[in-house]
Amino acid sequence: MTQKRRPAPLLPPEAGRDLPLLAVCAILVFLACLAVIGAAGTWRASDAWTSQLDSEITLQVIAADGTDSEEAAEEAGRLAGGLPGVISVEVRSRAASEALLRPWLGGASLPDDFPVPRLVTLNVDPENPPLASAIETLFADAAYRVIVDDNRLWAAALSRASATVRWFAIGLAALVCAAAAAVIAFAARAALSMRRDVAEALHLVGAPDRFIVGLFQERFFLLGLKAGAAGSLLALGSAFALGEIGGTAGAIFFLPSLLPGWGAIVILPLAAFASGLVAAISARLAIVTALHKRWS
């Protein structure tokens, strides 16, 4: 016989049986990737929030009855600008203040004599900011009231909250990975049970454990790789879609953006490989244990 002959796979193709497992693994990888993207988004948002809060102090200027709020705001801005640690000052217009009140007072124009507090934003040196007490002292004798909103007072709380969300997302990703590993280990044991005839025949013709383990390991690595590729690509697509759709709502409610950064795009294909690796390792451990239990 001269025809070329390729050895058939020693483990029979199990396309019908592998499909549900592939789907479960792909879904788990999808969830893990979304959790990681969520964690990365929270991380970025937290950094942005805290850096902004650290470098800004807001003054609410409330003019006395019958006085010009415009003049009061301008004067407050000028005085505050002279304090050490203040880099620049931005006096917000009355329209800007009204826009902030609109969700509570409705869209109708406010009467001109309505006492709308005016806002003055101080951009400060985060390393050497002016103390809130120093600002309050500066305006102690002013003809208008100044309330200092020191954003840094709640920046720490915000930072702690975002760190909690971050660790929660990372924990969620780890849990999903562990669930995927457990599912693969279970499936590997089931596969060994189904193909006990193969394992036994191989044993009896002198195949060492590593040969048999290698067959199952290779099969589950490829399964994990396929599931990982499908799950991570789906997660990437979903993250882009959610980021685009939820962008506006996220901006209003200060939610972290799910739009993946370049880092996530590079890391996600690696998720497929990691999925294959997790599948191979958990299958290997399951098969080695089962072989030792079954054949002494």
Binding site: M1, R5, D197, H203, P208
Partner: protein
């Protein structure tokens, strides 16, 4: 055929008998002993039959030889190596020196006849180009030349048995164990298969065949081990 045995890496005694049982007992789980105080030796290159009524323990004895089971008591040596002190990792190398024809054939249903027969060589790390011709030649010899690519399910019982025999002998093992190897074939094919075993034996393989077939055993004029109720009642009687 041009197959070589993989180096076992074991310290085997070249002068020791191929198989030695010393007061071996065996039970499955907590059940009764299926083999009791079995002691015998098979010299290297010997040809021997194993006979006895159904349930006498023939298959259990063969399972002990091809290391599918461990004895409950007693000692078993293969090539002078005490199998009770061998580690799990040493067993595959020893198994590769033993060819087995199972009573229920144990062919893998998803592999063709060719791939089933090639299994021991594949496990030993040989490449298909190195054994393709040998396997086709062997399959022609056992009358399966026209069934090279057939799946076991499409073969008759006799054809499956011949494929199982081809798999057992393909790596030219040092010990060949066969459990009722001619039970499903016609007398002509039985004689042909026995000639294959005899030929292997002439080349140095130790052959042990378990059979009920008294006429077959008598035709061979070789020593017989006879089991009854798990005990060896005749060791080297020539039928």
């Amino acid at each position: 055929m041009d197959q070589t045995h993989a180096d076992t890496g074991l310290d085997l005694d070249p002068d020791a008998p191929a198989i030695r049982f010393d007061t071996v007992g065996m039970r499955y789980g907590r059940g009764p002993e299926v083999l009791s105080d079995v002691s015998f030796e098979l010299a290297r290159g010997s040809f021997q039959f194993l006979t006895g009524p159904s349930g006498a323990g023939k298959t259990s004895l063969l399972r002990l030889i091809y290391l599918a089971e461990r004895p409950s008591r007693g000692l078993i040596s293969l090539f002078g190596q005490d199998t009770s002190i061998m580690g799990r990792d040493d067993l595959p190398a020893l198994r590769r020196r033993i060819g087995v024809v199972f009573q229920d054939f144990r062919l893998l249903s998803h592999l063709s006849v060719f791939d089933n027969v090639a299994l021991p060589l594949r496990v030993a790390g040989q490449r298909v180009a190195g054994y393709r011709e040998d396997i086709v030649e062997l399959l022609n010899w056992v009358g399966l030349g026209h069934q090279v690519d057939a799946l076991p399910a499409t073969l008759s019982g006799g054809e499956q048995q011949r494929a199982a025999i081809a798999r057992a002998v393909v790596s030219r093992p040092e010990i060949l164990i066969a459990d009722e190897p001619t039970g499903n074939v016609d007398p002509d094919m039985a004689r042909r298969l026995l000639r294959l075993f005899v030929e292997l034996n002439r080349l140095g393989t130790t052959v042990l065949i378990a059979s009920h077939d008294i006429s077959l055993i008598r035709s061979m004029k070789v020593p017989v081990l006879e089991l009854a109720d798990g005990r060896l009642i005749t060791k080297t009687r020539t039928a």
